[in-house]
Amino acid sequence: MKHDLIERNLGILLVLTMFAISAGGLVEVIPLFFIKETVEKVDGVRPYSPLELRGRDIYVREGCYLCHSQMIRPFRDEALRYGHYSLAAESKYDHPFQWGSKRTGPDLARVGGKYSNEWHTQHLTAPRSLVPQSVMPNYPWLVKTPLDYSDIQLRMKALRKTGVPYSLTQAEYDRNVKDFGPDVAKSLHIPDAEKNLIAQAQLGNYDGNPANISEMDALVSYLQMLGTLVDFKKYDDDYFVKFR
């Protein structure tokens, strides 16, 4: 009897149990990989520059996602507070994505440009000096710690394996020029990563200290670009409805 076979054979029981409990998830997820409209067609989305990428990694390291989501849902109250709802296209180069679901603090999907670099630097160092009732922790070491970017090329190569179009060869670079324009393409070229990272940090001077490149430089450069890539003024306000 088959029942008997499953009950007496742990291996088969395990495989079949795993299949049974993942079926519900797989049925919902797999079709999304094939449905053409899942990721919206929209201009402006690009992978992170090397400095922003390091900032993203510090964001993950410090566990900011435990209190902050990066996913504005298509609800009226969220649109009023945070801006346009998030698009799938906007996180297509995020591995892993930072959508999150816990909001002890506000959503950060469109925080880019909302505040000045000075504000972010002071707020991350001592949140309560600006928002007295805040429960966000102090991150005083970010301004003091020099940014370690010795492995930036490896980080970009790893993402390239997952399909993010960072370029290694001339052909890939040329393709990026076509897809993103020459300026962005330059920032995506892996062999120039250190040079580009330093240049952006010095030009932006995000932490207010031009003398060195700190972890704060990287994190603020990341926060300042969040949600700014798509220019929604170029689209009808219902343009994204047709992708659902």
């Binding site: 009950e7 849902r73 440009g113 909302k114 000045s116 306000d237």
Partner: protein, 312 residues
């Protein structure tokens, strides 16, 4: 127990340890019915909502059962009525349409009336106050603080009569829409410590703070001379220029040098010296034309001017 059950209920037929058996009791009737109802529910659901994937697309529900009609605004500002299948985003359009309809009456008035007329319309000002408070808390309070009182060393007070960039409606509007970025160059390379001390004493004398009169006199000359050329930005009278947002140095209101908190004359001098040495580039007010709609910016202008108090 096993004796009774043996006759009424079947077992799975497995036997362990000689006599240990497993019963196959039928599922309770209410459970079975619940199970069938979920199937019926699913079928009804397919009529109303996007459900089954087919190749690169999916079923979108049956038109008529689940149509959603909303008004969209195109890039060039035209209003278009559209009908589509139910989904989160079309439903969102409906919700936003509802909100627009509720607020339209007020926002249309704010947009079309002059600032002065808005501020005299008591009913409209109620709307300005409640909508303005929310907008201010979400966007401005993290810098200007909850009541707009500002923070020394960071952002200006919006509740007083003192305006770096001007306090008329139009000037406030320009500030909010395009942002502001006050800049004063560092003088550490241009002037020596003695000169900077003299200038600091002169600056303190402008607002009758304790200072060394002899040094201040020398500072006066430097301030108006070509070497330091402070007058160029702060004006010959030291009252500042609205186009540059250069501080009025003759009042007792300070933004960067925390003079009121300093106890001794020496501390006050040092604070001003600090500003002159390092210059100022941290006064950054973001531009809001990308985040807020024109009518929201106009509303905030009235809110800052009339409700926070201090417009002039």
């Amino acid at each position: 127990m096993s004796q009774e059950n043996k006759n009424s209920v079947q077992t799975t037929g497995h036997v362990w340890d000689d006599d240990l058996q497993e019963l196959t009791n039928p599922l309770p009737r209410w459970w079975i019915w619940g199970f069938y109802i979920t199937f019926t529910f699913a079928v009804v659901y397919w009529l109303f909502y996007p459900a089954w994937p087919i190749g690169g697309s999916y079923t979108k529900g049956v038109p008529g059962f689940n149509s959603v009609t909303y008004t969209a605004t195109t890039v060039d500002g035209k209003q278009v009525k559209k009908t589509t299948h139910w989904n989160m985003r079309s439903q969102f359009m409906v919700d936003m349409n509802e909100l627009t309809a509720l607020q339209k009456k007020y926002f249309d008035k704010v947009a079309s009336m002059s600032y002065e007329d808005v501020s005299k319309d008591a009913e409209l000002m109620q709307f300005v106050n409640s909508a303005g408070k929310t907008l201010f808390s979400d966007n401005c309070a993290p810098c200007h603080q909850a009541g707009g009182q500002g923070k020394i060393g960071f952002s200006p007070n919006l509740t007083d009569d003192n305006w770096m960039y001007g306090g008329t409606y139009d000037q406030i509007h320009t500030t909010i829409e395009g942002g502001r970025r006050g800049y004063m160059p560092p003088f550490s390379q241009v002037l020596n410590d003695e000169q900077i001390t003299q200038l600091a004493n002169y600056v303190l004398s402008l607002s009758s703070e304790p200072h060394d009169p002899v040094a201040a006199k020398a500072g006066d000359a430097l301030f108006h001379g070509e070497g330091a050329a402070c007058y160029y930005c702060h004006g010959p009278d030291g009252k500042g220029k609205i186009q540059l947002g250069s501080a009025n140095l003759t009042d007792k209101i300070w933004l960067w040098a925390n003079i009121p908190a300093d106890k001794t004359q020496e501390d006050k001098v040092n604070d001003i010296k600090n500003v002159i040495y390092n210059g100022l580039a941290k006064g950054v007010m973001p531009n809001w034309n990308v985040r807020l709609k024109p009518e929201q910016i106009k509303l905030l202008t009235v809110y800052v001017h009339d409700s926070l108090g201090g417009g002039k």
